[in-house]
Each structure stands twice: as C-alpha cells, then as structure tokens.
Amino acid sequence: MVGSDVFRAKFFSLYLPLTLYLVFLLFPFYWMLIVSFKPTNDLFDMKFSPFWIQQFTLENYLYLFQNTDFITWLKNTLIVSIVSTILSLVCSIFIGYALARLRFPGSNFLGLGIFLAYLVPPTLLFLPLAQVISELGLNNTYWALILTYPTQLIPFASWLLMGYFRTIPKEIEESAMADGCSRIQILFRMVLPLSVPGLLSAGIFCFTLCWNEFLYALIFMSSGSMKTIPVGTVSDLIKADTLFWGALMASAVLGSFPIAFIYSFFVKHYVSGLTAGAVKG
C-alpha cells in the first residue's frame, strides 16, 4: 500500500530521529524532576531502577524552603534579571537603531567594537569590574549586578536588534519622515511596534543570561542572603564533597520554571526574531 510506505518512510526519516532527539533533549529535565521527588536513600539504592520513582516525596522541596533562603534567592534573581534586562534592552534599542540606520563617521568601527566587547570572557573582566564595583561602594547590592550584567548583554542584544531593524523596509521610515516624523518618533511609533519579535528575542536572551549567570553573582553579590539562585544553590546545597542531590535538583527544577514558562509563551516570536536578517530579501 502506498499510504503505509509513505508512513514508513516518514517514520524512519522524520518521527524516529525526532523522537530520539526529543528524548536526548528532555532527559536531563526528566532526571532532574525524578531525583527531586525521590527520598535520599532511594537515590543511593541500586536495587531500584534509577529511571523511575519508587517512593514519591516532597521532602527535598520542603528542605529547600525550610532550610535555605530559596525564596530570597528567587526574589534577588528576579529583581536583578528584570532590571538588567530592561536596562540592556533600552540601551540596545538605541545602539541597534543607530548602527542600522544612521550614517556617521566610524559607525562600522563602533559596531565592531561593541561586538568585540561581547567576546571578552567574564573570567577576564571580573577582577577589574570588582575594583569598579568596590570603588562605587556597590558590593553586595542589587546594583552591582544590574550594572555589570549589561556589559555582556548590550553587545549581543544590540547586534541582534541591529539585524532585525535592517529587515524593516526603509521606505516605511522615509514615508513617515516625509509626513514630518522625527527620528525618535519614527523609532517609537514605527520601528518598535514592527520589531516586537526582535525585542522579545533580545529580551528573552538577556533575561535567560541574567537568570543563569554565576561568576559575577558570586563575586559581586553573594554575602548573607544576597544570593541569586545559581549561587545560593551551590553554596548552600553542596557541603564539601557531599551534594544534597534531591534539594539541588528541586532548586534546579524551580529555577528552570520561569525560563520555561517565558519560552513557552514566546517561542514563535523568539525564533522569528533570531532568524530575522539571516536571509536578505
């Protein structure tokens, strides 16, 4: 039968590879989830299959909420991520638009310089930045991260937005200009409403990076309860060579949730924002 042949061909060329890929991608999350719901003793008991839950427990989540400052870490991470993302997006919109549309001497050089800044690894930057943060008296405050995260976020977001702005036909802006719009008015009334997918992808990129960032959060803001989720999780749930696996995984599950939630809502826009400008029309 022709139909069954088509299905067989599709099964082997499409569904099977996709399923395998899906298993490969989702397995870490599955592992994280089941470990977080297992009692500690079951984790070390080789009699049980490690891939299933023998005995369901919420003790790891309770431990997280009762014995650590997880709620405070969550609050800290949210504040830092949201404010840094907004700050970076605002700066990147102006930079991206200027690089995409304005002609001024050294614009190419400036664009390249911004991109090169993105290539400097944080492991090289953290010591000089520590000096700056200390001089400004911002150690162990939210501002320490809110001001340092954009050093990594703005270059990438600017380039991403620059690519997106270039996909918007110039003619729209020229018509607006003919009707008397200023550059700023064009940016806010024409360009930004047309760039929602680009803004969303830049925003999600910035937020994810802030949410997961470890080194700066460790160096600039990790005293007392001023910890973000990544730093708090490893400093309070790893004691010497002993890891509290259940609670670690519970923290990872809860820490991944906001990012997964955001992605699930905006995934379409995110993809279109990232791929805009990839093909010139």
């Binding site: 953290f126 200390s134 080194l215 460790l218 160096i219 990790s222 005293s223 490893v234 004691k239 060579d241």
Partner: protein, 449 residues
C-alpha cells in the same frame, strides 16, 4: 567594716576605706568563682569605634553544626566588642575567585586560605606571627605538615587551623570476603599498595570494585595521586624547588603496577569522577573501597546506618619509599586592604584561644585534622575507633610541591592537575613511561620559570 544602720530613706554612707575593702572582697569572691574574666569582658566598653564591621569568608563545612558554632562564636565576640560580624561560607571551588576579587578590590577582612594561597597572596596579607606562635606554643607545637607549610619564608601570613583529609574507606564484609585479615578492624590493617590492589582484584572479581576519582577535582584525586607518587620515590621537584624529580624509574614501575591495578581492581569509569562521585558510588554499594574524607562515613551514619556499620577506615597504603599523605595547611588570614585590621587581629587572637578553638575543632568529630600536637590525644579521637586512622595522618603529611616549598608554583601545578592527569593518562593510554614523561615536561614548564 562599720555598720551604717539605715534611717528611713537616708543614704548609706561608705568611707573610702569601706569602699575599697568591699570592692576588694567582691573582686576576690568573683575571681574565686571564675567570674572575673566574664565580668571584665562584660564590663569592657566596646573596644572598636562604632560601626566597625568584620567580614569573614571561608569554605562551607561538611559538619553543619560546626559551621553554626563558628557563626555563633563570631557573633558572641562581635556583641562583646561592638563589632558587626558577618560570616560567608562558599562551595570550595568558588572560594579562590572570591578571595582573588577581595584581594583586588576589598570586601572581606578575614579569609580562609588553602595550601599555597599564602604564597600566592603574600604581598596582600597581614603578618600574624604573634598570634600563630602563641597558639602553636600553647598547644604543644605544630604538627609536622603545618610546620612545613604555614610560613612564607620567615613570614607567618595566617594562623593555621587544620586540614580536612581523606583516608581509605572500605566495606568490612567485602574485604572479609576477599580474605583480608583483620578486616573488621581497620586499625589493625597495614597494607602496601601492592597488597591493597590485590584485595581490590578479589573484590572486583566478586562484583565490588574499588573506586577512585581521577578527574579534575580539588580533593580526592590529588589526595590519592600525590601520596602514590611519593611512596614510589618520585616528587614534583627536589628540595631546591627547581630540579624536576618526577621521572624516576621506581615511579615508572609503580605506575605500571597502578595501570594493572586500575584494570584489575577499580571501576574504570573513575577517570571522569570528581570529589562527589566516589561518595555516591560508595554509598550506593557500587564500590567497596575509596580514598575519601570521613564524609562518606558521617553521611552513612546519618542516612544509611547499615553501610556505616559495615564501613571502616585504613591508613593510606605504603610504597617502597614509605607512607605519605598529601596535607596542606589551611589558615585564617587578614587581607592588607581590610579597613579593620586591628579588630580582625583581636578577633583571631580570641578565636584561637583554647576555649573557642577547642570547641570548634571538637565539634568536627575528627573531620578536621589537628594543626597542633595537643589535640592528638584529645578524647574526640577515642570516641569512635573507626576515626582513629585520621588521627595518625599528620605524622605522614607532606605538602604539595614536596620536597620543595609549597609555594605558588606548587599551587599552580596542583591547580593544573598535572600529577592527577599523569595518572589519568597512564590508565587511559596504558603507557606508564610516556605518561610520566608528559607530566615531567609539564612540571618543567612551571618550576623552570
């Protein structure tokens, strides 16, 4: 003393002599009752200017109550002296970048330094010889491993407080099954590396291999590989700190035996293990013996008492050149850029007094090795015979970089895992000579600078 009967609300009058006599008597009673020091402490006005803050950074404790005790002690001193104290405890691998940032830009007054870091930051640390020497002298002198490493040249840049190290944990029943004599009492077992591998071979044949982390991890891999290297006559460098002494025939022979032992006795996935993997493997019954701190035993006592009952420790095996432990001194040091050096010094002086240090050290129940000889005979060591092998470790302790000084070059070789990688390359490639030649070349690049 004359009596002064009260008349209504008439004030009681004291002559100057009465006052002095009464005061002297009161002080005498208080002193006899042991109250004097407390009274003086309580009566003492805050010794430091208002708003003084001390920030302390150290690695997180495996024994959680000891961490809480340290915080309470710091708080107690802070309240008595009008100083606001804050203590931070970080995951071990994260300690060094945080300290590096503090050295550069401030943030902490007192930091915990691990082996070699006092050399690394020697220009940024306050001299603490007076506190350290008084502490050492009062407690019977330093243990050998501390003596060898707590100073940078003649300068004492931190006060040593011990070291947490590993030993060989093993399953009693599986060692018995493999025919190990005295398996039920690790204190009666004294093995050579060859004998240890031979037991491992039998254990593996019975389905219970040994396990050893050989990945890039700060504790167990170097804690195992350095002693094996020293026990087979090799060192990173000679005493001059320059001449590489790694590629020695005896070590090549020892490495051949190790390659064989790895195949016959060990779980061969250990090349990718870190400090935590062998804990997990041991507690899940996957392996029968491993080099580890007492954390395995303590965790088992808490969560898996049947495994704790079946666990004992033995001293690390000896080789042709003897028995060695890789021990480094951990110190509490004060950063020069601290704005509160006098308060930090006073705090450390107080904390290293017998009461505070003794309480803290004892609360670790043997997890922390003693830095001073007095604690070798402390009752803590006799509470649980299974912990006794840890008590003996300081006798065999050598520092990284031995026979040279435990300086910044030794710290660099350690942080690049050259010795550990030599072992990993040997078992992966199967060529002992080639792996050791590679290691010697890498060491030359560091020590030859």
């Amino acid at each position: 003393m004359k009596s002064h009967p009260k008349k209504g609300k008439e004030r009681v009058k004291l002559s100057r002599r009465d006052f002095l006599m009464a005061g002297a008597a009161g002080l005498g009673v208080a002193a006899m009752g042991g109250l004097l020091p407390d009274m003086l402490l309580a009566a003492k006005a805050p010794a430091f200017k208002k708003g003084t803050k001390l920030s302390i950074l150290q690695g997180s404790y495996f024994i959680a109550p000891s961490q809480d005790l340290y915080k309470r002690q710091a708080q107690e001193w802070g309240e008595a002296n009008g100083v606001e104290m804050s203590c931070d405890f970080l995951n071990w691998p994260d300690l060094q970048p945080k300290i590096a940032a503090s050295v550069q830009a401030g943030g902490y007054d007192i930091v915990e330094l691990w082996g070699g870091w006092n050399y690394l930051y020697k220009d940024n640390l306050v001299e603490l010889g007076d506190i350290a020497e008084a502490f050492g002298k009062r407690n019977g002198g330093w243990e050998r491993y501390v003596e060898l490493s707590y100073k940078v040249g003649n300068r004492c840049l931190g006060v040593p407080h011990g070291y947490s190290n590993g030993s060989m944990a093993y399953r009693i029943s599986w060692f018995k099954e493999a025919g190990c004599p005295n398996a039920e009492d690790g204190n009666k077992i004294d093995l050579t590396w060859d004998e240890y591998f031979a037991i491992g071979k039998k254990c593996k044949a019975n389905g219970h291999p040994f396990g050893q982390a050989l990945g890039h991890s700060t504790g167990d891999p170097p804690g195992y590989c350095y002693p094996y290297m020293w026990a087979h006559g090799a060192m990173e460098v000679e005493k001059d700190g320059k001449t590489i002494a790694f590629n020695k025939p005896q070590f090549v022979e020892g490495m051949r035996k190790f390659i064989e032992g790895w195949k016959d006795a060990y779980d061969e996935t250990g090349t990718s293990w870190d400090d935590s993997n062998n804990n997990r493997a041991y507690l899940s019954g996957q392996i029968s013996s491993t080099f580890n701190g007492s954390s395995i035993y303590f965790t088992a006592k808490k969560n898996q008492p049947e495994i704790a009952a079946d666990t004992h420790h033995i001293l690390i095996p000896k080789g042709p050149a003897g028995r060695f432990y890789w021990l480094d001194t951990r110190t509490f040091a004060i950063l020069k850029n601290s704005k509160n050096v006098p308060a930090a010094k006073e705090y450390l002086k107080w904390w290293f007094e017998d009461k505070q240090f003794g309480d803290w050290w004892r609360s670790q129940e043997g997890y922390m090795l003693q830095p001073v000889k007095k604690y070798y005979t402390d009752p803590v060591w006799f509470k649980d015979p299974k912990m006794a092998p840890f008590r003996e470790q300081p006798k065999y302790g050598q520092n990284m970089g031995f026979a040279g000084p435990p300086n910044e070059k030794a710290a660099m070789a350690w942080s690049k895992y050259i010795v550990v990688d030599t072992f990993a390359k040997a078992v992966q490639g199967g060529d002992a000579k080639q792996a050791i030649e590679w290691g010697a070349e890498q060491l030359k690049r560091i020590y030859g600078r």
